[in-house]
Amino acid sequence: MIQPIALEIIVVCLGILLLMVEAFSSKTSKTPLAYAAILGLSVVFVLTFFVQPSAAGLQESGFYVLDPLALFFKRFALVATIVTLVLALDYLPIVQRLVPGERPGAGSGEFFILPVFTCAGLMWMASAADFIVIFCALELVTISLYVQVAYLRRSIASLEAGTKFLILGALSTGFFVYGITWIFGTVGQTGLEAIRQALPGVPEAAQPAMIFGVALVLVAIGFKIAAAPFQFWVPDVYQGAPTPVTAYLAVASKAAGFVILIRVLEPFFTVIAFQEKLFLALVLLAGLTLLFGNLAAIPQTNFKRLMGYSSVAHAGYLLVGLAAIGDAFAGRAVVFYLCGYLLMTFLAFLILVPVSKASGGDDIANFNGLARRSPALALAMLIAAASLAGVPFTVGFFGKFFIFEAAMKQELFGLVLLGVVTVACGFYYYFKVIRAMYWQPASEDAAPVQVSVLSRLAIAICAVLILVLGFYPQLLIQILP
């Protein structure tokens, strides 16, 4: 048995070690760093199985909790980071071209090292049980992501995305801190467990202050999970950021936001006075996010932008699940959806990187004729798009199905209706990609698509898992916290 806290320490030490190696080695090739990072994170992933989650979970200080949910999301963060590093390896030529360096390859090492630190932040977020720890871990994640988004310094789009992300991220941080101060001012505690105990004793006169604080925190987390109306940074940042970072933002950053949301809202759902108002806020957020994400995705022609709006839409479905949290299965439905979302989003981006390398762009038109240029990739993309849209016999279908089922039991008929209608919108815009691959002729100068061995492996695993879980979702549900 190892101490639970050791997991993050190992990840941070791995990051520092890699930084040192990068600084002192004279090698020009930086790929060994990526392999070392992947290997190291895989070892930590194995180590997570030797940590015993405790039922109460709370450590003495009240800062750190290791319940099954936290452990599950630590693994989630590790897997997401490993896949991101695989993506980054494929993306390396573009990084080398767009980063100003004295020699070729200079300055690309940190592209593999920064995600390791982000991973540590994500793991801390999964275990955070105190607003101060949540804040510190969240900032570690966002600040390392600012740097990664703006990494391609010779690309105007990347710099613009970085600036936008920085300014709006700082704004949301401001909301977060302000909300925490109101909550602290009302109950005099920052620990979530202490707040839960103090909540029933909050006098009626102080309740508006509490709700104000929670609302501000909700706004800030809304930024992180890209819920409408706080989504306006998403399209530009997703389009401008390096593709691996876009995938990382879409999956890991969103999932961590949802863990925080679940943890922060939990104490407040135990008190009747707050329950109704929070419930109303969640329903409104979910409805708006569903509508905006799906409708705005329809006219998109750039694939990364499309994925940006699609990630807003998926946040909407997840919020429906959270609004139905009164149902016993809703929590697991949300986690199941997040896992499916990880698989299908990474699959889409794993295919996008080699395709855009071969055809020189991220537009949907760059997928033209992929079925003839590379049938296997086209098939994998077909699976990803079908799952994102929610076609039966894919994991995406069951994700939506479980969430709608929980919402039906909680009698959220309006949201379910909205969800079903917007799923139909989803069919339209995801199938634009499929149409481009199978019914459009390839352009004359399209180069053959080459995929590295690691990517092939990752693509195969994601595609197979999407189908297997689409037929047999119990496989995953059994191990959910």
Partner: protein
């Protein structure tokens, strides 16, 4: 007396903060920010938080602002041209700010202790340097360590984004 001081310094702080946004010359904006920080430090003093007040002046009004001014002068920033802002942006921004302020006013006026001048936590006897030290390095040691990693990442990021030619 205490109430009068509080109002004087908070009004000063708000006025200069508005100046940061409204003034067109970057150097004037930066100087307004210094004044706003100093007024904030004075508000901290009226709350008996002497250590925070001193740190506010030393770190923010001193070190950080000198750096800001350095950068402004080095980059030789000119006066900002006045921009045309669309009507829709005015209306949207006005609605958000108006809604936020009205919610804030409602919440503050509903609070039972809103008219007291001094919070219950203030304690002029306490040695607040020691208290801050214990809080930071003993009670909140765990988040403090996370901040350490955060600073490392920020340093790496600054080097990556600002060096002319990476080695």
């Amino acid at each position: 007396m205490q109430l009068a001081l509080f109002w004087i310094f908070s009004l000063l702080m708000l006025l200069f903060a508005a100046g940061v946004v409204l003034l067109r010359n970057p150097v004037s904006s930066a100087m307004s920010l210094v004044m706003s920080f100093v007024a904030l430090a004075a508000v901290f003093v009226t709350l008996d938080a002497y250590f925070i007040a001193v740190v506010q002046v030393l770190v923010y009004a001193g070190a950080v602002m000198v750096l800001f001014l350095f950068i402004i002068m080095l980059l030789d920033l000119r006066e900002e041209k006045s921009r045309r802002v669309r009507l829709s942006a005015w209306v949207g921004g006005g609605l958000v700010v108006g809604g936020f302020v009205s919610a804030l006013v409602q919440v503050v006026s509903s609070l039972p202790g809103a008219d007291s001048t001094k919070p219950a936590v203030s304690n002029p006897e306490a040695n607040d340097v020691a208290l801050v030290g214990f809080a930071l390095f003993r009670d909140f040691n765990f988040p403090f360590q996370i901040i350490g990693v955060l600073l490392l990442v920020a340093t790496v990021g600054v080097v990556l984004l600002s060096r002319k030619e990476l080695k």
